[in-house]
């Protein structure tokens, strides 16, 4: 009688090997994606050829033939669609930039107000945040544009501020600085002041690290930054003239004109985003450990240096990442301009140009690519800045 052979486990099948499974699964996923892509591209090509639309970017050189109500660069109806694209892009960037600056200022004020020991101030800020945050942005844009700015009186009954800023249903009119010969000296002096201040700050930090002696860089730098350009201006005979808007006939002439669409959009975007930024700032300041403040007091720092050297750097570390996403949101939300006919990228390019040429695929892809690039650029920049102030573990 022979002994039973040692029972061996059956060899696992190829399909039970994790590597084979992983490869198969990824192959399947890729095949599905490519199949879906081919399906869509095939259909699109068939549909386009049926409608007689030639694909490609040749249309960008064609004459546009329509006017745009506001442009930062020279634009006329004879210009090409490419020029329209640039005009729209610049308008989008303009409204985003102004919005980001105003929203940050208002947001920090709101965040600090919410932490105020004054009950009334804190409550007013809280009510503002809860109301504005919970209303759709589009509704707020409509409210400012159709509800307020469009209802304003005409130029003759403008709301005036110091007889130099006028608000009416045609827009906002402010004095415009006009440089005269010799103006270049002022920015030149400012540049020199910036360079000198930076050098001074470096030197002061080195000296403090070496000898422990503090140096009031801030005051000296402020003096330089304000004083040098003033000196240069005085030397050149104040080569800057303010051109005031003046009522002539039915409208204002001269000065800077901001169309009502731009004003409504900037106001709505910045007040809306400020509510979110206020909450971020509040959370950031509250997020600084109480022990840090007590330790700063214990080593004898006064209130100013304590905020500047201990609280703010740590609060900023918490604030920056969500602040970045708010900036991104504001930039993307500026596309709501299309709803009130502010000539941004979406309105003039993805709207009018698409309507005129029918090149839906190309135009939507370009528009999306622009926003994607903007988003990635802002987040790259903020990541770089964030790395600079991030906690260095020792």
């Amino acid at each position: 009688m022979s002994r039973d052979p040692v029972e061996r486990p059956p060899l696992p099948s190829v399909w039970q090997s994790p590597r084979v499974r992983a490869l198969a699964f990824q192959g399947l996923a890729l095949a599905l994606l490519l199949g879906f892509g081919a399906f869509i591209v095939g259909n699109t090509v068939a549909n386009l050829s049926k409608q007689g639309i030639a694909s490609g970017f040749g249309f960008m050189g064609t004459t546009a033939g329509f006017g745009i109500s506001m442009s930062l660069i020279e634009y006329a109806e004879e210009h090409s669609y490419f020029r329209v694209f640039i005009v729209g892009l610049l308008n989008t960037l303009l409204v985003s930039a102004i919005g980001i600056v105003l929203a940050t200022l208002l947001g920090f004020v709101l965040g600090i107000m919410r932490l105020s020991p004054n009950w009334l101030v804190a409550k007013v800020a809280a009510v503002y945040v809860e109301v504005v945050r919970n209303l759709p942005l589009l509704l707020q844009i409509f409210f400012w544009y159709f509800g307020i700015l469009r209802q304003l009186p005409g130029p003759r009954q403008s709301v005036a501020l110091f007889d130099s800023v006028f608000l009416n249903n045609r827009g906002l009119f402010t004095p415009e600085p006009v440089p005269e010969p010799g103006f270049a000296a002022i920015p030149g002096a400012l540049l020199v002041a910036v360079v000198v201040s930076l050098g001074l700050a470096r030197w002061a930090r080195r000296r403090r690290d070496r000898t422990g002696q503090p140096f009031h860089t801030v005051y000296v730098a402020l003096g330089l930054l304000i004083g040098l350009p003033m000196l240069a201006a005085a030397a050149a005979g104040f080569p800057l003239r303010w051109e005031y808007p003046a009522l002539e006939g039915f409208n204002f002439v001269g000065g800077m004109e901001l169309i009502p669409e731009l004003v409504a959009l900037v106001v709505a975007l910045s007040t809306y985003t400020a509510a979110f930024i206020g909450e971020i700032v509040r959370a950031g300041i509250l997020g600084v450990n109480r022990g840090q403040i007590e330790a700063a007091q214990a080593v004898g720092l006064r209130r100013g240096p304590m905020l500047r050297l201990v609280v703010l750097p740590q609060a900023l570390r918490i604030i920056i990442p969500p602040l970045t996403s708010q900036y991104l949101n504001l930039t993307k939300n500026s596309s709501l301009a299309a709803a009130i006919a502010y000539p941004d990228l979406v309105l003039v390019f993805a709207g009018t140009v698409l309507m005129q040429t029918g090149q839906a695929v190309e135009i939507i892809c370009i528009t999306m690519a622009v926003y994607l690039t903007l988003s990635l650029t802002i987040s790259l920049f903020m990541n770089w800045y964030n790395r600079g102030i991030a906690l260095v573990e020792r």
Partner: protein, 435 residues
């Protein structure tokens, strides 16, 4: 000899009351409003600003407002014309939906409310069934209730679908209840998925199976272009959230997958949609989706917008879910692996139930965002709550009442969003006490 001053108190004294100025209303005022010269100045400044803002607002909205009437002539006073809202109320709520069919929308709301209430009753014995109905049955029932029209149902198709979907549902329920066949057997879901795929390849719904087709019309058709008002806003937000949840979970799992190809596809998808504004997505949906479809297949405008909103929302949902997945400690994954669970069971039975529970507040916040963003559909020509108010304000008979419309719709949106954000904060607090 002069009596010596008593140095030791022989009896106990009553404790002194705190100074009047530190307790009660006076103390509160001193502490919170007048604690320093700066604070006092701030208090008076804010009070003055409130005095400038509040009385005119109250006069406009209530004291000087017109409340009754049926036409614009009823609005003769200085303040708001609420008659405008009163006249347009039905349109603002339901859009152009036929008046005699409004009960269908109300029944839909009622069903949702009833199921919602049952779901929140603690220890209700059939909660799982109610949840299942809400996410699987209700969308179908509600869609037919709202849209109606002739249904052509191939019995073969219906049977195939019923077996496959019913099998999956039964399998899911059995797992939840810990039935033996569900514990012992292998997956089961791959069989269903393969069956569905095969069915789609053969032709799916498009296959007529003419001899076996029944056709019936329980409710008359209401075209989606008639949908509007708050109803449409709710439909868009609900479809967006219900559709984006499963997609978002899959994308989040894909983003954390160890398979590089799958991970790259998911990262690309998520980052692209999160990097572009919703408007461009809606423009894409309304201009490019028709080009993507084979000839003859036609989506109506609402369906295209819904698809766009769902894709957009799923990218944001994926990031929320990813946060939950990252919060689950490694030990949970390792324990599931040690028990011999495969990938899908690890995720479905161990990780996701915990991860999803953590991110409920995030999901609610997402929903608030989606609810507010749903107003953008008015740019591609759908008349949602805000769009209807805008349309009413530009009606030739009712020009000049835009602000009343915005105040009313704003109040509606605010109620929903504020309520949900309070609910999400409440959940956050309740979930935090666990540790």
């Amino acid at each position: 000899m002069a009596p010596r001053a008593q140095a030791v108190e022989s009896s106990t004294r009553e404790a002194l009351l705190p100074p009047v100025a530190t307790v009660g209303a006076v103390g509160w005022l001193r502490r919170n409003l007048f604690s320093s010269p700066l604070n006092t100045a701030l208090t008076f400044a804010v009070l003055y600003l409130l005095y400038l803002a509040i009385p005119p607002l109250v006069r406009w909205a209530f004291l000087d407002a017109d409340w009754v009437g049926t036409s614009r002539e009823a609005c003769r006073r200085e303040g708001a014309c609420w008659v405008f809202i009163r006249v347009w109320f039905e349109r603002l709520m339901y859009g152009l939906y036929p008046r005699e069919d409004l009960w269908r929308i109300n029944v839909g709301y009622g069903l949702l409310a009833a199921a919602g209430v049952l779901l929140f009753v603690p220890r209700f014995p059939w909660r799982h069934w109610v949840g299942l109905f809400l996410f699987v049955g209700y969308p179908i029932v509600a869609w037919y209730l709202f849209a109606g029209g002739r249904v052509r149902l191939s019995l073969v198709n219906a049977a195939v679908l019923l077996v496959l979907v019913g099998g999956a549902v039964a399998r899911f329920v059995a797992t939840l209840r810990g039935a033996r066949w569900a514990r012992a057997g292998r997956g089961g879901y791959p069989v269903v998925a393969a069956g569905l795929a095969a069915w789609l390849v053969v032709g799916g719904w498009g296959l007529g199976y003419a001899p076996l087709t029944v056709s019936f019309e329980l409710l008359p058709l209401v075209e989606t272009r008639l949908w509007g008002g708050l109803f449409l806003t709710l439909v868009i937000a609900a479809v967006g959230i219900v559709g984006s949840l499963p997609l978002g979970v899959l994308l989040a799992l894909g983003r954390r997958s160890t398979l590089p190809v799958v991970r790259m596809i998911c990262v690309g998808f998520i980052e692209v949609w999160r990097g572009v504004p919703l408007i461009t997505v809606l423009f894409m949906a309304s201009n490019m989706f028709p080009l993507f479809m084979p000839e003859g297949v036609n989506f109506d405008k609402l369906l295209r917008a819904l698809a766009g909103v769902t894709i957009f929302a799923s990218a944001y949902m994926a990031e929320v879910v990813r946060g939950g997945l990252q919060a689950i400690p490694r030990g949970q994954y390792e324990a599931a692996e040690a028990l011999g669970l495969g990938y899908w069971r690890t995720m479905g039975l161990v990780v996701l139930p915990q991860a999803l529970r953590i991110v409920i507040p995030g999901i609610v916040n997402n929903f608030i965002g989606l609810f507010k963003d749903s107003t953008l559909v008015l740019i591609i020509g759908l008349f949602d709550f805000l769009g209807m108010a805008q349309a009413a304000a530009s009606n030739a008979h009712w020009l000049g009442f835009a602000v009343e419309g915005y105040v009313f719709t704003g109040f509606g949106f605010w109620l929903f969003c504020f309520g949900m954000s309070r609910y999400s904060q409440h959940l956050e607090r309740r979930l935090r006490t666990g540790h």
